[in-house]
Amino acid sequence: MPAVPFDYHAPATLAEAVSLLGSLGEDAKPLAGGQSLLPLLTLRLVRPRAVVDLHRLDELRAVRRDGGTLEVGALVRHRALERGEGPLVLCPLLQEAAALIGNVRVRALGTIGGSLAHADPAAELPAAVRALDGTILVQGAAGARAIPAEEFFAGLLTTALRPDELLTAVRLPLPGPRTGHAVEEFSRRAGDFAIVAAFAVVQLDAAGRVAAARVALAGCGPTPRRLDAVERALVGLAPSEEEIRRVVAHRPLEIEPDSDVHASAAYRRHLAGVLTVRALARAAAGARAFGP
């Protein structure tokens, strides 16, 4: 079906884009890689009066390492994340997460900023950024803001972005020593959105005990979920698979999955437990591989 007709803008600079969004207000939709917006347009599920195409904003394509953090521009494509191009290789969890997005055609066009701003609860990158304790950088008419991922994802397909704001980059702390990561995704079909996916980061101390653990889940509620109780309980433990299984089994998972045509809430809850254990165990094994 053809989309409902709309006005098309392709601003040349970030300033121009922000000013356009400011004047068009809620009737405008920014277009990045188009992997979410274009299907929504042609299905007529969204009917914006204007589309602001960001493809000319080269300033949003940069990837910078700054000491212990990595800043990834909003227009960096999934394919670049997957391949670990340039400094992106320093963030292997992002690499593993991006490789699970759709198929290679989707990854060749989709962007990290688009995925985060769309905030699909089953998508890989929002949960990955949550597991990485990332910060979302945005630019609006009133200036720039840095929003912790925890606050950025506000609800189903809803973020802290204001209508006049553009997501410009995401800032990620780089993994420290003896840090392992893993992504365990379960989908009905290769390349689909996750039914549930678990993103884990485990850092060990010199004695091989958990110094810090983070685990985020996709597909378990309107926003990506962190399992705080599990994370806290793991600290100080020697993370064998049995130990992890015991910890996860004895903590209520702070998730609120929904039922849909692909899976019931009960099954998602079950998968969340299984995948959390698998992801943490593999992350811990990866951390151990660094040696003491």
Partner: protein, 773 residues
């Protein structure tokens, strides 16, 4: 690929060779002009307004805003359709329903009975304007109570989908004394199975272009399996049949979804009204929402056997969901009824089959046509029986398999070889050594499933096909046949047959297909019948032509008649002297010997059968077997098919490459049905109207299916061929279910076999299964 050599009754040059199809290269190089690719000057674009409700009265339908939009050429509602009803004949009913003519309404007239039912048509200058006009039609609905489950539909007091009641059709078979046999059986397996509604999900959604030609003939070039729908279009418009012409270009997938009318009638109405060319292309969403789908069934099987595994009785109850309109439901149910006992001898059998109207999307033809849904029932039962008695899965089937000369429970005698056990042994052996599980929480298991599928149409339809074969003056060959080619290589197989008989290379044969005005009618490309029927028609035409040509050639060569051969584009005498076919054609022209022939093949025919009394229903049946090895993740319930060997007796493989394609494609479709696909309808609302929610398997989700071709040489088609279009879709789901029990000890009885269903069966989830309509 493994291929069983069969001694040929005659040496064959072209038949049996895996030659590339002439249409394949065109498709890969994007030269094929599919239905939606056709462009005409001044062409309008059609669109359909569809019902938002599954059951409602239309209180007001006002098209004035839409009609007034600039660029809108026509807006049509039921009132504008000369004859708004098509009829389906349902012959030979054996129940209180009686002989029936079931109704199909083209545009909703006062009432809508399913979500997505067409309500109005638009033709406009651009697709955008057409869409805007559709949205500008004002409809006021008054929602009515609906019924969304066939059992609920048959309960007293259920809302009536149609005035005549919700029971659409009922068939039954009785032979022997089932009651007594079940009482005396050493083992009785009693299980209820459920299979789901699925969609054909072909690459090419429904599409076409129609125009009124200079001679006043309404011409419709559309994606269809049945060019004979020109008659339906004529009936609807109230014009003589010979004023409507349907052309089917190469079709991008049919699978039964283009057996009923789709866009043809709508295109005809719009082109006739506007007198301009009109194009209509349904979106994927429309196609998934509202085009007729595969019947879901509830199947209860009570199977009795002796201790040695010999079947003594089957008592089977079937209930299907017809959705809101009859379409071909009664016939689908008939196929299910006749094949419900599987490829086995069953001395005492009772089948009670019903199909009911609901306010769900209509269901109709789909590859396997009722017979495929039964495989889950009879093959799960055989596997459970083997397990209960400690028998090998091949052995229990071998002890019960039908043989040539046996009678099916419906009373029809099998006239050709039944290679089902040979197929089972080959498929089972083809799995090779067992694979070890990857991790401690994985289990690996194997399953087998055999099947029976009719080929050719029901004998009381008196099926026939015609084809014209001619030799041009230069010795090149032309075939004309009204055969829609839906991607199975239907056209190229006919070229191969003509090439074989007339001794020219396949590239020397041109074929013109699927034009109801210009090609001899061949009947539908459905029911695994086109190679069988049109293959025989082309064979008959080519043989008659060869006989005439040889007579003339023998005179030219001064060779004894009967000793001259046609090969390499020439007539060749026993001593090697030859005369080019072109030369023979000149001589035919000089003598007035016709250089073409119209071949007609009539299938075995019979009177309508009361199934309960028994008799012949189909021309013949064909058999196959699939074996799979699966790996089950016992923590998540995920099932991966590691290996899949699919073996079918095709009688004779005219083109082994096409046969392999049918087997692999059918197996892939069967695995999608078994593991992934489901049209989810909740209270009449379709929740799976995109390929993001309706899960068709991709290449990454499937194993590399290994086809094994058996050639018994004993089929009713040309050169002893049987059909292979439908059969391979049948066994995969049951084979996977059987393999899962082998791996984990749990029996899955409901399709699709989602990881969640497996997880529940494994006891991984505490909460009960969510209620299902």
């Amino acid at each position: 690929m493994a291929r069983e050599a069969t001694p040929a009754t005659e040496p064959l040059r072209v038949v049996g060779r895996a030659i590339p199809r002439h249409d394949a290269r065109d498709k890969v190089e994007a030269r094929t002009l599919y239905a939606a690719d056709w462009q005409m000057p001044g062409m309008l674009h059609g669109a359909v307004l569809r019902s938002a409700y599954p059951s409602a009265r239309i209180r007001r339908l006002d098209v004035s805003r839409a009609a007034a939009l600039p660029g809108v050429a026509a807006v049509l509602t039921a009132r504008d359709v000369p004859r708004n009803v098509l009829w389906t004949d349902v012959p030979g009913q054996t129940s209180e329903v009686g002989p029936l003519r079931a109704r199909l309404v083209l545009l909703a007239d006062g009432v809508v009975r399913y979500q997505g039912e067409p309500v109005a048509l638009v033709a406009a200058e651009t697709p955008e304007v057409a869409q805007r006009a559709v949205e500008a039609i004002d409809v006021e609905y008054e929602p009515l109570p609906g019924v969304f489950d066939p059992a609920a539909a048959l309960a007293p007091g259920a809302p009536r989908v149609h005035e005549e009641g919700n029971l659409l059709a009922r068939w039954q078979i009785r032979c022997g004394d089932v009651e007594r046999a079940l009482e005396r059986a050493d083992v009785v397996i009693d299980t209820t199975y459920r299979c789901q509604m699925v969609d054909h999900a072909y690459l090419e959604p429904e599409a076409g272009v129609a125009w009124v030609d200079a001679d006043g003939v309404l011409t419709i070039r559309a994606s269809t399996q049945v060019i004979e729908h020109f008659r339906d279009v004529a009936e609807v418009l109230g014009v003589p049949h010979n004023r409507v012409r349907v052309i089917a270009p190469y079709v991008g997938g049919g699978f039964g979804g283009k057996e009923d009318v789709t866009v043809e009638v709508f295109l005809g109405l719009l082109a006739w009204r506007t007198r301009r060319p009109v194009r209509m292309v349904w979106s994927r969403q429309e196609s998934l929402l509202a085009r007729a789908k595969r019947h879901p069934f509830v199947l209860r099987y009570r199977t009795g056997a002796a201790r040695d595994g010999t079947l003594v009785a089957q008592r089977i109850e079937l209930l299907g969901d017809a959705g809101a309109y009859a379409y071909l439901s009664a016939l689908v149910l008939l196929y299910a009824t006749v094949t419900a006992c599987g490829p086995y001898r069953v001395p005492n059998a009772e089948v009670q089959a019903r199909v009911a109207y609901t306010n769900n999307p209509p269901t109709s033809a789909m590859r396997g046509f009722g017979a495929m849904q039964m495989v889950l029932g009879y093959e799960s039962q055989m596997d459970q029986l083997a397990r209960r008695l400690g028998l090998d899965p091949v052995e229990v089937r071998a002890r019960n398999a039908l043989h040539k000369g046996d009678r099916l429970p419906v009373g029809q005698q099998i006239e050709t070889r039944v290679a089902v056990i040979e197929a089972a042994r080959r498929a089972w052996a083809g799995l090779g050594p067992r694979v070890a599980p990857r991790t401690p929480h994985h289990r690996v298991g194997r399953g087998l499933a055999c099947n029976i599928q009719p080929y050719g149409r029901i004998v009381w339809l008196h099926d026939w096909a015609s084809a014209w074969v001619g030799i041009e003056m230069d010795g090149s060959v032309v075939v004309r046949a009204g055969v829609p080619d839906i991607g199975g290589g239907q056209a190229s197989a006919l070229c191969q047959i003509a090439s074989e008989v007339l001794g020219v290379e396949p590239a020397q044969v041109a074929i013109h297909i699927a034009d109801s005005a210009l090609t001899p009618l061949a009947g539908t490309t459905t029911a695994t019948r086109q190679l069988y029927m049109s293959g025989n028609a082309v064979l008959a035409a080519a043989r008659e032509l060869r006989a005439r040509v040889l007579e003339v050639a023998a005179r030219l060569l001064e060779a004894p008649p009967g000793r001259v051969e046609l090969r390499e584009g020439a007539a060749v005498a026993p001593d090697g002297r030859r005369v080019a076919l072109a030369q023979v054609m000149k001589e035919c022209a000089r003598l007035g010997v016709p250089r073409s022939h119209l071949g007609v093949y009539h299938a075995p025919a019979g009177d309508p059968v009361d199934l309960a009394r028994g008799g012949r229903v189909f021309p013949d049946y064909t058999f196959g077997a699939h074996a799979v090895e699966v790996e089950v993740d016992t923590e998540t319930g995920a099932v991966a098919v590691l290996r899949h060997v699919a073996c079918h007796d095709v009688g004779r493989a005219i083109n082994p490459q096409s046969v392999e394609g049918q087997i692999q494609g059918g197996a892939a479709m069967g695995l999608g049905y078994g593991l992934l696909e489901e049209v989810v309808v909740e209270a009449g609302v379709n929740l799976t109207t995109s390929l993001g929610t309706y899960l068709v398997p991709t290449a990454l989700d499937l194993p590399d299916v290994e086809p094994v071709i058996l050639e018994s040489g004993d089929g009713k088609g040309p050169f002893g061929a049987r059909g292979i279009g439908e059969p391979p879709v049948g066994p995969p789901a049951a084979a996977v279910a059987n393999a899962i029990e082998d791996a984990t000890g749990v029996r899955i009885t409901e399709l699709p076999i989602t990881p969640e269903r497996v997880a529940r069966a494994l006891g991984l989830l505490e909460s009960p299964a969510p209620g299902r309509a």
